[in-house]
């Protein structure tokens, strides 16, 4: 039993079909409970009710970064071991990641308007996220521009590797360029400068929910891609025969 067995599309389709309802159900339950619990948390003494945007903003931002990392891992697997499911998973993940980035940016703007008095500030974190969004756009555009699926997988894989280095570099370069308004991380295992537990438990639940939601969407989209490949192969065979 090894993870490489799932490189076989048939095996992947069978396993994903079996676990999909569970993951989707888990996502629905944890998001429902987490968001409602988050909505019922006490008002923050300074931020009032706007603090509740956090339950969407933080998980979306977290997933936006982690989805890119997942795409990087999937691209590496494709480039090194040429497993098709891996390349298709990277392709399927990109639009989800782009939407997560948009959610993080939009909820941040809605929170920033009453709190910082501005919709947008050229803060390092905000700027780095905007750049990450541009990388997502370029990656998606490259997938749709190349006709041959294997070439597309190769080219986007190389782009993902290079893009990861530069997204990381930009993240720290913008810090050099402008000092920030955005607060540092307060979700950590270190005691001290930490978010209050009244907020952290629903927040963790929302994070779990966003993660399961991503896995659900990823499985559905990867299955769609595999089916699209099969349809294309069948059509090509029919034209030949």
């Amino acid at each position: 039993m090894s993870i490489w067995e799932y490189a076989n599309p048939v095996k992947f389709m069978r396993t994903s079909a079996a676990i999909l309802p569970w993951v989707a159900g888990g996502a629905a339950v944890s998001l429902a409970v987490g968001l409602v619990w988050g909505f019922l948390t006490p008002l923050d003494y300074k931020q009032g009710s706007t603090v509740k945007i956090m339950f969407l903003h933080v998980p979306a931002a977290m997933m936006a970064i982690n989805i890119w990392v997942m795409m990087l891992a999937a691209s590496l697997v494709w480039l090194i071991r040429r497993h098709h499911v891996s390349a298709l998973a990277a392709k399927a993940a990109a639009p989800v990641g782009a939407v997560m980035t948009v959610i993080a940016l939009l909820t941040g703007a809605i929170w920033g308007q009453p709190m910082w008095g501005t919709w947008w500030e050229w803060d390092p974190r905000l700027t780095a996220f905007l750049i990450l969004f541009l990388f997502y756009l370029g990656y998606i555009a490259l997938w749709s521009a190349v006709d041959n699926p294997d070439s597309a997988a190769d080219l986007t894989g190389v782009l993902c590797l290079v893009g990861s280095v530069f997204a990381f570099l930009s993240r720290y370069a913008v810090e050099f360029w402008n000092q920030g308004l955005h607060q540092g991380a307060t979700v950590s295992v270190r005691p001290g400068d930490r978010i209050s537990s009244a907020y952290s438990y629903p927040l963790y639940l929302c994070m779990l929910g966003f993660f399961l939601l991503f896995v659900t969407l990823l499985l559905i989209r990867t299955r769609t891609e595999i089916r699209r490949r099969r349809t294309a192969a069948l059509l090509a065979r029919e034209v030949q025969g």
Binding site: I131, L134, F135, L137, G138, A141, L142, A145, V146, S151, D154, L155, V158, L159, L161, V162, G163, F166, A167, L169, S170, A173, V174, F176, W177
Partner: protein
Amino acid sequence: MIALLVRDLRLATRAGGGFGLGLAFFLIVCTLVPFGVGPEGGTLARIAPGILWVGALLACLLSLDRIFALDWEDGSLDLLATAPLPLEGAVAIKAAAHWVTTGLPLVLAAPVFGVLLHLPGAAQPWLLASLAIGTPALSMLGAFGAAITVGLRRGGLLLSLLVLPLYVPTLIFGAEAVRRGAAGGDGTTPLVFLAGITLAVLAAMPFAAAAALRVNLR
């Protein structure tokens, strides 16, 4: 390698090669900006470092698709790929040729454009140094983008979408060096970071670009 460099330079400088187009574009950008923001010297001096760097970057972008497109069309890229010279070396040489025909003229002409935009005299050496250090990275990153998009229809627009985010760190450190110089300060720190980026790009990018070219030549 030298023969390839000479060939590329000759092709670029002969008629139809587009040599000097980037420079003319740079001049137009520097002419249009005062129309947009008004002719006051103070405002212009304040935004000059950014305009000069963004202008240089766009002028560089303009000629990127020529790096491989012509050789792709007439098949000489296939010959290069099967030549004894490693494809990585060919890519590096082509980026170097692009830099000599686009980046170097920009570097040399930048002080003149700086005067046009009222850039303070103290910032001129910083502008020259940051462009001289940063433009090779622009050419090399551009060669990577051109290698990815070489076989595509509508490759030009996609090329800018792919390459411009990669230019962000270079732009930040380059413009920051000039800005610190214009404020009468010392721009060494961003300049050192810029040099680090350029060296890393020159060392690593030929491999990525050659990998992309091999996929497109398959």
